[in-house]
Amino acid sequence: MALQLMAEKWSGEVSVVNIGATPQDKGTRSHILKIGGEKSLPCLFQEGPLPNKPQIVFEVWDILPLDWPDELTRGYKNVLGDPVKWAQMCVKEYKAQGICLRLQGAHQDFGNKSPEEEAQLVQKILESVRVPLIILGCGDEAKDNLLLPACSEAAKQERCLIGPATQDNYKTIVASVLADGHNIIAESPIDINIAKQLNVLISDMGLNLERIVMDPTIGALGYGLEYAYSIMERSRLAGLSGDKTLACPFICFVGQEAWRAKEAKVAPAEQGVIWETLTATALIQAGADLLVMRHPKAIEEVTKYVDNLFER
């Protein structure tokens, strides 16, 4: 007799978030990054549909990233410090499906660029590449509250993903994202309660849960990956069990965390790539929907891994 597998039946499903607007939606993007929509736990294809592959986007900075090791900068020769060229290189040479623009230069310790200047940059990037765009603030709450509304307006109609919104600083960002038709990143500090509370607070302001992508805050391999894994697993279990306020897709800043690891920076070449790759694949198994990564080789490997996984 054939073995009958016990399949879990889930009452909920992860919401689908569309990043990027094509001319059909009055935007100018060449395609849409569609994430979420899972009706089963990660990789359990036999239990329910997992309609959308995890997506990987390239991280691009508005300024020259100072602490990136040689191994990481090697692939971006001559474009670092010029975000427009950098983004174009990602798309042309490495076939990037999306760009994550980090506006670090707006931070007072990194050049203190004005919101207007950064908004112009966003416009330029949108003109020079046609892939969907993710816009990240500089990490200073007060500055982000000026910076992100300006960028949001500059990218109006393009349905970007903008963030981060945190529990202590979400109102201004939500208001502009709401007005300009974007999606939002809700960041919580490895805490399922705060993740949920923040989603409630954001949706209380009128932004649909279907426009929220959660950043659960991750750690790299060897640096707390298992905590992130367990929080993501708990959120996803709650989401699939019918808790709509936790049924949002995840964004994971893999590159940022992996390349902070000592092992990635100072070890023999290749180890950093492996570190970033392994962090990414582990998080995909935890349920990551959108991965922001840095090294072209690591991205290539993870893309292969995802294609392999979904080839059925």
């Binding site: 529990q167 949920k196 509370q197 409630v200 607070l201 949706s203 209380d204 306020t245």
Partner: protein, 637 residues
Amino acid sequence: MHKFKVTFYPDNKAVEVAQDTTILSAAISCGVYIKSDCGGDGVCGRCKVILKKGKVLTQPTGIIEAQERKHNIYLACLTTVHSDLEVEVPVESRMEMHSGFQGIYSASEEVESQEAVLGGKLFKHSPLATKLYLELPRPNLNDSLSDLDRLFRGIRKAQDLPVMQTGLSNIRQLGELLRDSDWKITVTLGKRNDTVEIVLVEPGDTSNKNFGFCFDIGTTTISGQLVDLNTKKISGTRITYNKQASFGADVITRIIYARQQEGMEKLHAAVTQTMNQIIKELTLEHSVDLNDVTCIVCTGNTTMIHLLLRVDPTYIRREPYVPTANFLPVLRASEAGIIINPRGLLSCVPGVSSYVGGDATSGVLSSGLYKERDLSILIDIGTNGEIALGNRDFLVACAASAGPAFEGSGVKCGMRASGGAIQKVKIKPGDFSLEFSTIADTRPTGICGSGYIDLIAAMLTAGVMDRSGKIKAVEHKRIRKGENGKEFVVVFKEDSGSGEDIVITEADIENIKRAKAAIYSASAVLIKHMDFKISDVKKIFIAGGFGTSLDINSAIKIGLLPDLERKRFFFIGNSALAGARQMLLSAEATRVSEELARKITYFELSVDAGYMDEYMAALFFPHTDLERFSSAAGRRS
């Protein structure tokens, strides 16, 4: 060592103290009570005083701002005496002590006055101490029984009592007393555990004057009631802050303080002074002779009872958290420093464990929870809240330390539920115009626990703050930046009775959020631990110093109480005090309370793996899991 005189205003009380004494301890030693939530550690900032005259030394602290320093404001606990001083204690730092709260507290008093609140049969009337008038036959050559045996025989003739005993001092005076009073005497019989004792022999007939007191000794407030033991009537009630609050706001700080030099003596003196003052005031008011007060029953959490009896509470806070005693024998009140009839008795309601004390037992007793057929829960909302779950088949209880916020302490404009306290609030969405009512309809001077609950619910509904408790950043005359973050003005100073703005700060909201989270999560974990669902609970008894002014919808809206049908909720006021009164009036109630204390299973929340998760999830208005509060959440989308 130099001695200096310190005078406190407006009390106009003075005391001589040695150099280097802190102003706080000088104040305590002359009966001026200054707030001090941290027990003199210099961190809570409640003990600000104004130096009018004299020289002091003070430690630097961030709590006193430069502006305040200019006005000679100091922290009483960090400032020492270095010359004769004149010190003004401002209203905010003063601990409100006495004066009549009768009537003002009427809401819960109504409930408290009821005999055995719910569930049928009353306890048989048989007070802890009874008086019996006897006319003994004179001895003669044929009836030569000794005086004492004659007395015993006389008592046995009137009542069927088994074992009797009496003290030497009674026997010493007996011969003369009997003859002087022409063999007409009144004996006071006290129940000391299983034996009956002749407490007192008095000349003549005083049997119609027999009074007792019951007390609920809370961490923050003490309530006392004078009861006529013959008629079972309550003559009067007094509620006041526990003077021990000067040594710390919670039991743990007090246990630590008890280990300091003379710490135990000070704590003991503070509680007995508070009780003696209540006794004195009530007896004076009702023209009762202290000698006619023959017994007293006390309930309270385990630490409070230890401190009352001057028993070392140290081991209550050390693992494995074992108290010195849960069941205490009936003692003489004078042994504990309580001034009633010198030979009067003192009985304490038996406790369950270190953190579920006699107040829980007496709450279960008076609520009738132990007789319920359906699953019921008793939630006693206090600084050391207790929660008991069960029915006539089983009883479990746990402690939920909520802090003093609901009793109006530890919050900026907090006060007890007494005259002038804001108890109901309505805020109009949009323009934030505000309506409120105060207890006794006097000008508002502060906000009481039920007022805070109503206020926070109203702020949520009107959109003044978000679900995490952050006040919205909108331009409005009521919203402003205060010393400690954002605050919302409830009453402007023109309309307040204190001449100052009445505000609620984000820090206050945070305090209340933690307190309500502690109560709710403890209830939820206890119910889950017993494998029930919250919806299985058929009756919810709410006890605490709220009175009937607590709005259930508001309490559910902020997530303090579970979202169940409103008709399942019952207010029982101060259930601990009601239970103590039942014990005062009935030996049967005493017996039942002993059974209950043995029967209640103590559940230690700190060892439950799910408690921390539950607590964290409850730190939101009403709760992170909005599904649990579907009727209250009122999602705006």
